[in-house]
Amino acid sequence: MRDTRRARLVIGVLLAAALILITVDHRAANGTLLAPVRDVASSVFGRVEGATATVTGPITGFFKTISNAPGAERAITALRKENAQLKSDLDAQRLNRDRVMKLDRMLGLAGLGRYRIVPAQVVARRASPGFEDAVEIDIGTGDGVRTDMTVLSGEGLVGRVVHAGPSTSTVVLLTDPGLAAGARMEGGNELGVVNGLGEAGGNDNLIKFRMLDSSSPVQVGRRIVSFGSQGSAPYVPGVPIGVIERVDTTPGELTRTAYARPFADFSSIDVVGVVTEAPKRDPRDSVLPPVPKPPASRQAKPAERTPALRPPVAGPAETSQAETRTSDQQPAVAGPDVNTGQSEPPRSGHEPRGETRPAATPAPERAAPGQPGQEAVDQRRQDRGA
């Protein structure tokens, strides 16, 4: 190409323009002067660039994929592996959280009753109908477990150790028909024997509670706790056992039979604790869980509750009542001693107390008075009728 005059002029002008632009843009510190120009350019070009990218994207992506294929394959495998790892970690954490919660509850219960426990995990279970219901736990004599120790879970009594090996132990569950434990009705001195029912307990794993005194009243909804054995073996006192669900009324029988739903969930036992040291003194009813809140629709009737709120009677009177207890006495003393509830663990309670207790106990953890009392009253009527 030949340099004509015109060409030189054009080049000169263009160079000058470029220099001017440089100067102006450089001088105006933050590009205020040329900002609109830039904006226009960027909006136009940006759009075009975007459009181009959408068209060419797959093509470049394709070539990139091909060129990166070996590495990508490896990356995908690695990511998949990592993903699986993370997923399993997450599952494990979820499981752990469940176990931690159970452990926490159990430690809470053990603390309430001042039991010293060794936590354990159930590793195997054998449940042959009619024969036995036993689990294997992952601690043994090395951890301080001995034969005939009480086993509990966060909810209540689970069973007892029948065989302690070096690193595992066999625990017979409360639902085993061969197991019998001394039990006491909450807030009273009525004693009885709890027996497993095994297969006959149905899906709720009901257990049988035989009252030694057939004249003592039993109501649906009352709780039973372990009475404790001599020397606290095999059963320590005060462990919650269950809630009475059904009462068999057979007049003329020496013992009275009730069926209770255990607190512990026997269909899925996971974390348990072996009581290695019994509490110094009987925790009585203090380990029982709070009374469940009644549904709002069946709230308390004030009239039913007022008689129960009379002031407590003194200790000696209570004792004499307990000694001369008959079923006839119960309406007469139905109310008076309710308030002695939690504050006096070693009192000698008797059944009228416990009978009205859910209706009137002022203790804070027994939230929700009312509805259980209503039930108790109804049940009492049934009892007397029968």
Partner: protein, 171 residues
Amino acid sequence: MVRNLVAAALIVAALVLQVGLVNRVSPRIGPDLVLLVVLSLAALRGGAVPGAVIGFCGGLAYDLLPPSDHALGQWALVMCVLGYLAGRAGGQLPLLVVALCAVVAPGLASGIGALLGDPGVTWSVLRSAWPKVAVCNLLLAPVVLWVVRAVQPRRRARGSEFVTGYGRGTA
């Protein structure tokens, strides 16, 4: 030798699965894997004596399996008898024999428990539990039989003399 080892491995696997999985997942109702495996082994082995030996060993292992609270030998007795029957009759129709034995077994075991004065064995328990266990066993019997047959080494190669040798050894 290999067959015996395989049989032992199968029984051990069934034991562990039974207490570690089946009974933990559903304690109320579930098949008896150990029983089915032992019966299948006895029926497929063919022959009364090997069947009885397999049954006795399997039953004894079942009795010894850790969470246990019954008299040792209860299952050994039951499975010895059933293994004998299965081995004797299982030549032609192993599935039928295994199914029959699997239905009978829970009742037999409970009967022995009742003889020993087990407090849990009553008529009502038997009435409610036996059908459930029997149905579970029946449902699982073909599967277990198929697995046992698939896992067992072929005996075509050295055939009958191996069996008789085994029989002579254990008799």
